[in-house]
């Protein structure tokens, strides 16, 4: 067992880090305040091909691996967690199901522009009354001649206001339970499809999170993804991969909090010396660093398992569960070690703490990760 990246993965890290520090980080505090979606960051990521890393080049992807993708989300999130989730939701939640379950025509029509970055993607499973209990879908899709007619609403959809292509779950046959759920590709601007207001959030504030409303929305029959009734499976397998992205986002946030704190404690003087000289501070730093490293290993392992074609579902759940709690813990400690300054917007650590919280919630709460892990243990 060798815990080292390949030269290719090392270069991805080096380049994305430099890019994120120079191009993405300077905007992070400002968009946290204005909540303005960073379109310019999307354009810059597209130039580097960061919105399609783990997909084949024949579809417009970079042809890279999932570990490189995880490193990319980590480094983006280290600079700006909002930008990290734009990349992650687009890649893992929209591109992946199209790549894994789409027909060749669907891939050419929808996946290629997504991977080239000409279009942005979103994924819509959650409903007001179907969160953790995602199987209780109330949005329906009824086949009428050549179209499915969608009615219902989705809530908390990442990238919603900016996306062009949506993967949407809806009930096609209520009598079949989860086997009655199907996945659809819905384009922005389809009549009957509208957006609700943008959520005002604690963290990742410039990420565009909205309600989707479907009223008599006709989607061509050929836009069903996979077969009728396969939607729940598609959603669950999509989320398995997405959790690697969110674990990586949490890791990037935690790493940044650690980096900021290491620097701060060596500069801040109290009792006539840098506070880093106090063992209580050193011990806290040691705890933070260990958690970050453990989160990294779990995250990279899950990505590597995916690359090697192994079953990574439980590994991804462990990575997301651990990395998100680590991010929360490390960012809270980062504020503590910054003292009163850390509580102000003079320093980035308060933003990091607010950004960290979401990683324990979306793409399955911590409780859901534990359910996934437990079900892999107790069969």
């Amino acid at each position: 067992m060798r815990f080292s990246l390949t030269p290719e993965q090392e270069m991805i890290r080096k380049v994305v880090r430099e890019f994120a520090e120079k191009e993405i980080a300077p905007l992070a505090a400002e968009i946290d305040q204005t909540c303005e979606f960073p379109r310019v960051n999307v354009e810059k990521m597209v130039k580097l091909g960061l919105l399609g890393i783990p997909f084949p080049q024949e579809y417009g992807g970079a042809g890279g691996d999932h570990l490189s993708y995880a490193i990319t989300v980590e480094e983006l999130s280290r600079a700006c967690a909002t930008t990290g989730v734009i990349c992650s939701a687009h890649t893992s939640l929209a591109c992946y199901p199209l790549y894994a379950f789409g027909t060749e025509e669907q891939k050419q029509k929808y996946l290629v522009p997504l991977l080239k970055g000409e279009k942005l993607g979103a994924f819509a499973l959650t409903e007001p009354n179907a969160g953790t209990d995602a199987a209780s879908q109330q949005t329906v899709a009824i086949l009428d001649k050549d179209d499915y007619v969608l009615d219902g609403s989705k809530i908390f959809i990442t990238n919603a206001g900016e996306a062009d292509i949506f993967v949407v779950m809806a009930m096609t046959d209520r009598s079949k339970g989860t086997r009655g759920i199907s996945a659809f590709i819905v384009e922005k601007g389809t009549p009957g499809f509208s957006l609700g207001k943008k959520e005002d959030k604690l963290g990742i504030r410039a990420s565009d999170t909205r309600e989707l409303i479907f009223e008599n929305c006709r989607v061509p029959q050929e836009n069903i993804l996979g077969q009728e009734g396969k939607g729940f499976k598609i959603a669950m397998s999509t989320l398995d991969g997405g959790r690697i992205g969110i674990a990586a986002q949490a890791l990037g946030i935690a790493q940044r909090a650690l980096d900021e704190t290491i620097q701060y404690v060596q500069e801040r003087k109290q009792f006539g010396r840098p506070i880093s000289k106090f063992q209580a501070i050193q011990f806290t730093l040691a705890e933070m660093a260990t958690k970050v490293e453990a989160a990294r290993l779990l995250t990279y392992r899950a990505a590597d398992m995916k690359d090697r074609g192994e079953n990574y579902s439980a590994a991804a759940a462990m990575a997301k569960y651990y990395a998100s709690e680590a991010a929360m813990d490390v960012t809270v400690k980062a504020i503590q070690l910054h003292g009163g300054y850390g509580y102000t917007k003079e320093y980035p650590v308060e933003r990091l703490m607010r950004d960290a919280k979401i990683t324990e919630i979306y793409e399955g709460t911590t409780e859901v990760q534990k359910m996934v892990i437990a079900s892999s243990i107790i069969k």
């Binding site: 390949t6 030269p7 290719e8 270069m11 991805i12 080096k14 380049v15 430099e18 890019f19 130039k47 580097l48 091909g49 960061l50 399609g52 890393i53 080049q57 992807g61 970079a62 042809g63 890279g64 490189s68 990319t72």
Partner: protein, 261 residues
């Protein structure tokens, strides 16, 4: 248009610290980078290729680790990369470096343009580019900050201390470029993947080149480093304290004593 870009791998001097006791650079664990102005050179070459077609070859002399720098150049969009690596090249000064690069360029054969950075951030001599042009017996324009191609001639702006000169030259020509010239692109993710999975780096040793062995490496380097030292600052400062009139009086007295006022 066939373009050769000479790139040197250098320690990231932003990260280099000086050993306070020995006065030497601490190179351990310092990341290596492409010499910054060589990235500007590569960017210029890539833009010309995009505008006029052709091929961009990157050439470096250095230890095997310099492969990483060439992979990055490939990831940015270079078509081919050649690394000159041999123990016989070790200890080269600028003369031996430029001689070796020149023989390699002769082996490559066809070229319209050769790009170098103005200077390397470690060696800092700015000699390799001009020497290389002399070895190859082609014109050179240094400190280039703008480039226009017009058929088989090139028109560039050459930076001067207080302005710039517009210089025209036939091709082939060697240009050394400065940071002002452009903003180097980031390698794309696809470029990085291709650099590692699709491109091979060509390695040449002394045996692959038509060279006079006596002109290589340490033996071929007339420059002798006698001693390196960190300059000391012997100047001292005096700060005057007290009430303003008194301080001004003392200051004027001191300046007069030194015949400065």
């Amino acid at each position: 248009m066939d373009i050769i870009v000479c790139v040197k791998q250098v320690p990231d001097t932003n990260e280099v610290k000086i050993d306070p006791k020995k006065g030497t650079l601490i190179r351990d664990g310092i990341p290596s980078i492409i010499n910054p102005e060589d990235k500007n050179a590569l960017e210029a070459a890539l833009r010309l290729k995009e505008a006029y077609q052709g091929k961009v070859t990157v050439l470096s002399m250095g230890p095997p680790q310099a492969e990483v720098a060439l992979k990055e150049a490939l990831a940015m969009g270079a078509d081919e990369a050649i690394l000159l690596s041999d123990r016989a090249f070790a200890g080269s000064d600028t003369l031996a470096t430029s001689y070796t690069l020149a023989r390699a360029i002769e082996k490559i054969g066809k070229y319209d343009l050769i790009f170098c950075g103005r200077q390397a951030i470690d060696g800092d001599t700015a000699q390799v580019g001009p020497e290389l042009a002399e070895h190859l017996n082609i014109p050179q324009i240094t400190y280039v900050r703008d480039i226009k191609v017009n058929g088989s001639t090139i028109i560039v702006q050459k930076a001067l201390e207080d302005g710039y000169a517009v210089v025209k030259s036939p091709l082939p020509v060697l240009l050394t470029v400065i940071g002002e010239l452009n903003e180097p692109r980031y390698p794309s993710a696809k470029g990085i993947v291709d650099a590692f999975r699709k491109h091979e780096i060509t390695f040449w040793t002394a045996a692959d080149l038509n060279v006079d062995k006596a002109r290589l490496g340490l033996d071929g380097s007339p420059t002798q480093v006698v001693k390196t030292f960190t300059p000391t600052n012997d100047r001292s400062a005096e700060i005057l304290h007290g009430d303003l009139d008194q301080v001004v009086g003392t200051l004027v007295g001191k300046l007069k004593a030194k015949n400065l006022v």
